[in-house]
């Protein structure tokens, strides 16, 4: 039952997604990036930690196609490994936000009353914190590891999902088709999951992609400030950290420009994919 149901719906959604040009461009860029991040290290035998004692801060050459950094580590290898870290942190922390935020928004909007007041006021309180400062504090208290950065960014992002879900649940719970679910005797849980959730998901999904992009940027900002992912672990943010030095900024663009470009490309692709998913989920769009 469930499999047949999903496959027909999924097929329609995929059809619409593949017809969305920008989303396809974004998806292709992202897929290439992910493949490179996954397989290039073993193919090219890259090691982001090994130090080449013969060249510190060397310009691009045959041995190091993007040169080496100031302690002699291969810059290309660090860029690829940094991508692993950045993408993982971005996606995982957005998932953490989503998993906390969406159920809370759904519950607040469906049950109303006291539940609603408690959840939404807590969300308001969270939203009125200056999040960057909170992240800085938490990161320095909890220790600077990839896991903490992911969890902290993820945990502080739930309010956006809660508010979005809550807002669309409020409008959807009044629709006749939700009343019809009551009239055919569906249980509250099923009404929430089968009738309200699928119809309130579109804004959440775009928001998820934006959140991923934002989390990648937040991680980069943290690392750029020296509080995120710590060297020797590479991330796009702490590669950009080099650009804090004027001489690197001016004279060694090969050190930071590739990381910057990849960051922009990734964030842009993810946003395009978000647009594509939103349009694909809209059953009213023609195939």
């Amino acid at each position: 039952m469930a499999t047949a149901k999903q496959s027909s719906y999924l097929r329609d959604v995929l059809k619409r997604f593949f017809a969305h040009k920008l989303a396809m461009v974004g998806a292709i860029i992202l897929i290439i990036e992910i493949l490179a991040i996954l397989f290039l290290p073993s193919i090219m035998n890259l090691d982001p930690y090994s130090i080449d004692y013969m060249s510190f801060g060397a310009p691009p050459s045959a041995a190091h196609i993007l040169g080496t950094d100031d302690v002699g580590r291969d810059n290309f290898a660090r860029l690829i490994y940094g991508g692993r870290v950045s993408l993982t942190v971005g996606i995982l922390s957005a998932i953490v936000s989503l998993l906390i935020g969406v159920p809370l928004g759904l519950i607040a909007g469906f049950f109303r009353g006291k539940t609603e007041v408690v959840i939404m006021r807590v969300a308001d309180i969270f939203m009125s914190f200056p999040s960057m400062i909170l992240i800085l504090v938490l990161a320095s208290v909890l220790g600077q590891s990839i896991t903490t950065v992911t969890l902290v960014i993820g945990f502080l992002g739930w309010t956006e999902f809660t508010r979005l879900t809550y807002a669309s649940v409020l409008s959807i719970r009044e629709k006749d088709y939700v009343q019809s679910a009551v009239a055919i005797g569906e249980k509250s849980k099923n009404i929430m999951v089968k009738y309200i959730l699928p119809n309130s998901l579109a804004p959440v999904i775009i928001s998820f992609t934006f959140r991923t992009a934002q989390a990648i940027i937040t991680e980069s900002s943290l690392s750029f400030l020296g509080l995120g992912v710590q060297p020797p672990d590479p991330s796009w943010g702490n590669i950009l950290y080099y650009a804090q030095s004027i001489s690197v900024l001016a004279n060694q663009p090969y050190l930071w420009v590739p990381a910057g470009i990849l960051l922009v490309l990734t964030v842009l692709s993810i946003n395009f994919i978000g647009d594509g998913i939103r349009d694909a989920l809209d059953t009213k769009m023609s195939i």
Binding site: D176, Y177, Q179, S180, I184, G185, P198, N199, T283
Partner: protein, 348 residues
């Protein structure tokens, strides 16, 4: 779990009630409360359904007519417990629905269904037609997948949809076809009672007759009871057996269809009937034009709520509220002209 207790309750109350009444509504009230404003003593209240009593017999079509906003949909939704009544009782086959727990009520939903007014809003856009129609079966029946599909096929054939439509989504259909889907969904569990909330008012005149005929045929086949809410008197005349006229949350007249259309007693009913268009240019008609608008439901008139628009009203009407009284046989009307004609003349 509740079957035994429900059954005994049913049997006991069956003795007290008329056997052929499927629905009995007793002094039903559904009020909506607004927000209390600054310096206001009480919360504003809309008495959407205000002390309404009637009963619906097994197998008949009971019509409810009235202007927009008079509370007819609210009445229906309260009867089938989609809205909680503020006061009063709804008895379904003698069983008081307000005493049921949420689980018991959910269990009873397979016998009580609804057809919504707007077929564009009452179908979940994320479900295929098959999922929509099969939904009630998934809730209530333990049939195998193929048995359920067979039932779905049978029902879509009955409402005139095609096999290929099962995989489509609601937005791919016209209004008339969507209403057929809604009807199919309401019918799949073989319900006994269906509340029809203006089922054809969102439809084109051309498909209106098709859908109404479909509903009539199905009723004859399955011995269904309908409660049919509409503001369209010609539709009501076509499909209903008995009709109640509502004004500002109250029933002002209940009668057999023929009695109502031929000898309406209440002045409001008279005015409504005179507004039915007659498709003949040569017929000269006496239109009764009502003065003023429907009064604000926040602040209904005193006494008889209709007195400020009624052409027979006297001082007495603005003081005392008329009760629904029997005039002849099955004909009930809430008007002082029938219940207290002498007081209307004397009290000033």
């Amino acid at each position: 779990m509740c079957v035994a207790s429900c059954l005994t309750q049913r049997m006991v109350s069956d003795l007290n009630s008329q056997k052929n009444d499927i629905i009995q509504v007793k002094n039903l009230k559904t009020f909506f409360y607004g927000k209390k404003k600054f310096l206001q003593r009480e919360r504003p209240v809309v008495k959407a359904v205000n002390d309404v009593s009637f009963s619906i017999r097994q197998g008949e079509t009971f019509g409810v007519v009235g202007e927009s906003g008079c509370g007819k949909s609210t009445l229906g939704r309260t009867v089938i417990q989609l809205l909680k009544p503020t006061e009063g009782q709804v008895l379904y086959k003698g069983l008081d629905l307000s005493t049921l727990s949420a689980d018991q009520m959910r269990d009873l939903r397979k016998e009580i269904q609804i057809i919504f007014q707007d077929p564009y809003a009452s179908l979940n856009p994320k479900m295929t037609v098959r999922e929509l129609i099969q939904g009630p079966l998934d809730v209530f029946s333990n049939d195998s997948r193929s048995d359920k599909l067979a039932k779905v096929r049978k029902i879509i054939a009955a409402v005139g949809l095609r096999e290929a439509d099962l995989r489509k989504y609601p937005h791919e259909f016209s209004g008339g076809q969507r209403q057929r889907i809604v009807i199919a969904r309401a019918l799949i569990l073989n319900p006994e009672f269906i509340f029809c909330d203006e089922p054809v008012s969102a439809l084109d005149v051309s498909v209106r007759a098709q859908v109404l005929n479909l509903m009539k045929d199905i009723q004859a086949d399955l011995d269904l009871t309908y409660m049919f809410v509409s503001h369209d008197l010609s539709v009501v005349r076509f499909i209903c057996d008995r009709v109640a006229v509502m004004y500002l949350g109250k029933i002002v007249e209940i009668a057999d269809k023929h009695a109502l259309f031929e000898e309406a007693k209440h002045p409001y009913t008279e005015a409504l009937l005179s507004a039915i268009p007659v498709p003949d240019v040569n017929v000269k008609r006496q239109r009764i034009l009502l003065e003023g608008d429907l009064p604000s439901p926040y602040n209904p008139p005193s006494g008889c709520q209709f007195h400020n628009r009624c052409r027979y009203a006297t001082k007495y009407c603005s003081v005392a509220e008329p009760a629904l009284t029997q005039v002849d046989g099955e004909h009930y009307v809430a008007c002082h002209r029938y219940s207290a004609p002498e007081k209307m003349k004397t009290v000033s």
